[in-house]
Amino acid sequence: MSEYTFQIWRGDSSSGEFVEYKTEVDDGMVVLDVLHRIQAQQAGDMALRWNCKAGKCGSCGMEVNGKPQLACMTRMNTYLEQDVITVQPLKTFPVIKDLVCDVSWNYDQNLKIKPFKPGTPDPDGRYRMSQEDVDRVQEFRKCIECYLCQDVCHVLRDHNRKDVFVGPRFMIRAAGLDMHPLDVEDRIPDIRDEFGSGYCNITRCCTDVCPENIIITDNAIIPLKERVADRYYDPIIWLSNKVSGLFQNASKS
C-alpha cells in the first residue's frame, strides 16, 4: 500500500479549482477505485459518472494527467508514487459538476445520421450477408460511446467547430451504415456537407485514445473521405458516370 497525491478538479459550470487529495492505493487498483476511495473517505459530494467498471459502458471518461481515458481502465501501477496525478473532466464538453460533463451535444449529432435503410430482400423475403462483409462494419459496432475520441479531436476540442463537424464517433457510425452490405441509403452528401468530413485532418488522436482499439481514422474516416472524393473530386469517375448515364438513357429511349 502506497500513498499517492491527486489533484482533482472540483467545481461546476461557473467556477472551480483543483483540490489536492492524498490517499492510500492498494495493489491492482485503477484510477476509478481511487476516486471512489476519495469519495468515500474525503469528498462525499464529489461527482463522477461510472457504471460497469469494466471498460464497456463508456461512462467514466475523464482526463488523467492530461490524457483522455477511462478511469476504470487506467491502472495505478502506471504512475509513480511521487507523481502528482491530475484528474479533470473532458475538455470538449461543458462541465456540470466536478468530473461530470454534459455530453448531450453528441446525441444531437447522432440524430443527423440517416438510419439504416435495407434494399430489396432475396426472393424468399430474407436478407443475407456474408461474414467478410459483416466483419468490416462489425469493428465500428464495438464503440461504447465514451466520447474520448470526441474529446481529443482538436477540431472540437481546440477550434470548437461543433457547428460543422460531428466528430470521430459519428463518422464511424456513418461509416458503419454506409459500408453496410444491405444498406441502400445515400449518405455521401451528408458526410461532406453536414458531418464535415473535410474538417478532419487525419492526425489520428481519436484512434490513439479509443479504449476499444477501433482504427477510427484508417478504417472509417479515410474511407469516407475517399468515398466523398469519388463523388465530388474525381473527374474521371464523374465523366464515366456521365457517359454511362448517357448510354443508359439512350438504351431506355
Binding site: W9, S14, G16, E132, D133, H180, V209, I222
Partner: protein
C-alpha cells in the same frame, strides 16, 4: 577543389546544420516541456483555466509524458531527407555509375553530357537538353534532370494520409500532439483575424488529388524496376552488355520493392481495389477484390513503417550511386 572535397564539405555542412539544429530544437522543446511540467506542478491559481481546469493555447497541455518526442523526430527526420534530396538534386552530376542510375534522377528526361557522372545519352528519354529549356532555365540552377521528375514522388508523399498526420502535427502544430493545444486559427489569420479552422475544406482541399498522385507513383515503380533490371547489364546495355550483379544492383532492386510496399499500402489504393464497395461476396470478381483488399489492408496497417523505410532507402540508393560515381566507394560486383 575537386568533387570529393566539395562533397565532403557539403556532407559535413549538412550534418552540422541538421544535428546542430536538431539539438537546439530538442533543447528548446525540452525546456518548454519542463516549463509545462512546472506549470502543472505549480498552484493552479496562477494559470488560465477553463471550467474543468484545462489550460488552453498553443502547446498547452496537462500531459506530463514526453508527447513531443514523436512530432520532433518525425519532423526532423523528414527535414533531413528533404535537405539531402534537394542537395542531391541540385548537383546535376554523379547520378550514374556503370549501369546504376540514382532514383532521384529517374527517369532521365534530358541529359547534359558535359556534367561529370551524367547518364549516357541512350538512357535519356528525350536526348540532350534542348535549347528552349536552357533559355528559360534559371541561371543559378544546374541543368539537373532531377528537378524535372522529383515533383511526382513528392506530390504522392505530401498528399499521403500518413504524411499528413505527421506534418500537420510536426510543422503545422495542428495539433502538435493529442490533447495538446493546437495552433489557434486566429494566429494564422493575424492577431485581429476572425478566421475559423477549416481543415481540408479550403486551402487543403487539394489533398483530394492523392489518388492521382498514386497513379503517378505506380508509374515510378515500373520505371525504377526497369532501372534495377538494367543495373544487371554492364554499362546499362540491356541484353547486349555482359550480365552480372553488384552491391549497387541489390540496392537498386530493394528500392522499388520498398516503394511498392509503401505505394500499394496507400489508403487510396485500398479504396480503389475494394474499399469503395460495400460487398465482397458473390461472383469471382468480388472474391478477387476481397483477396486484393485484404493484402492491401495488411500493407496499409504498416503504412508508416514502409513510408519511412522506402524514403530512407531512396535517399540511400542515391547516396550509394553517387559515392560509386565519385570513386569514394568501390562497388563490389561480378563484372
Amino acid at each position: 577543389m575537386d568533387n570529393t572535397q566539395i562533397f565532403t564539405i557539403a556532407v559535413v555542412a549538412i550534418a552540422v546544420f541538421t544535428i546542430g539544429g536538431g539539438i537546439a530544437l530538442a533543447i528548446s522543446l525540452y525546456q518548454a516541456h519542463r516549463l509545462i511540467i512546472e506549470t502543472v506542478s505549480a498552484p493552479r491559481s496562477d494559470i488560465v483555466q477553463d471550467h474543468g481546469g484545462h489550460v488552453s493555447g498553443l502547446g498547452e497541455t496537462m500531459r506530463v509524458d514526453k508527447w513531443w518526442i514523436e512530432p520532433l523526430w518525425t519532423g526532423f527526420g523528414f527535414l533531413c531527407f528533404v535537405a539531402y534530396a534537394n542537395w542531391a538534386g541540385f548537383q546535376g552530376e554523379h547520378y550514374w555509375h556503370g549501369s546504376y542510375l540514382s532514383p532521384f534522377y529517374s527517369p532521365v528526361l534530358f541529359v547534359d553530357l558535359s556534367r561529370v557522372g551524367a547518364a549516357p545519352l541512350e538512357h535519356a528519354w528525350f536526348g540532350l537538353w534542348p535549347d528552349w529549356i536552357r533559355q528559360i532555365w534559371p541561371p543559378f540552377f544546374p541543368t539537373s534532370p532531377a528537378w524535372l521528375i522529383l515533383a511526382g514522388p513528392l506530390a504522392f508523399r505530401l498528399t499521403c494520409y500518413y504524411y499528413r498526420k505527421f506534418y500537420y502535427r510536426s510543422y503545422f502544430l495542428s495539433p502538435p500532439g493529442c490533447a495538446v493545444g493546437a495552433m489557434p486559427s486566429n494566429i494564422v489569420a493575424g492577431p485581429t483575424g476572425t478566421k475559423q479552422y477549416k481543415g481540408e475544406t479550403a486551402l487543403f482541399i487539394f489533398q483530394n488529388i492523392h489518388r492521382y498522385t498514386w497513379y503517378l507513383a505506380v508509374v515510378y515503380i515500373v520505371i525504377l524496376s526497369w532501372d534495377a533490371f538494367i543495373s544487371l547489364w554492364e554499362g546499362g546495355h540491356v541484353f547486349s552488355g555482359r550480365m552480372g550483379v553488384g552491391v549497387g544492383s541489390i540496392v537498386l532492386f530493394l528500392n522499388p520493392l520498398l516503394l511498392a510496399t509503401y505505394t500499394f499500402g496507400c489508403h487510396s489504393c485500398r479504396h480503389l481495389v475494394g474499399g469503395r464497395k460495400n460487398s465482397f461476396s458473390g461472383k469471382i470478381g468480388a472474391r478477387i477484390r476481397f483477396s486484393l483488399w485484404k493484402k492491401v489492408t495488411w500493407l496499409n496497417q504498416r503504412h508508416m513503417l514502409f513510408a519511412w523505410l522506402s524514403m530512407i532507402w531512396v535517399g540511400f540508393s542515391d547516396f550509394y550511386v553517387r559515392m560509386c560515381s565519385m570513386g569514394i566507394i568501390n562497388d563490389i560486383n561480378t563484372w
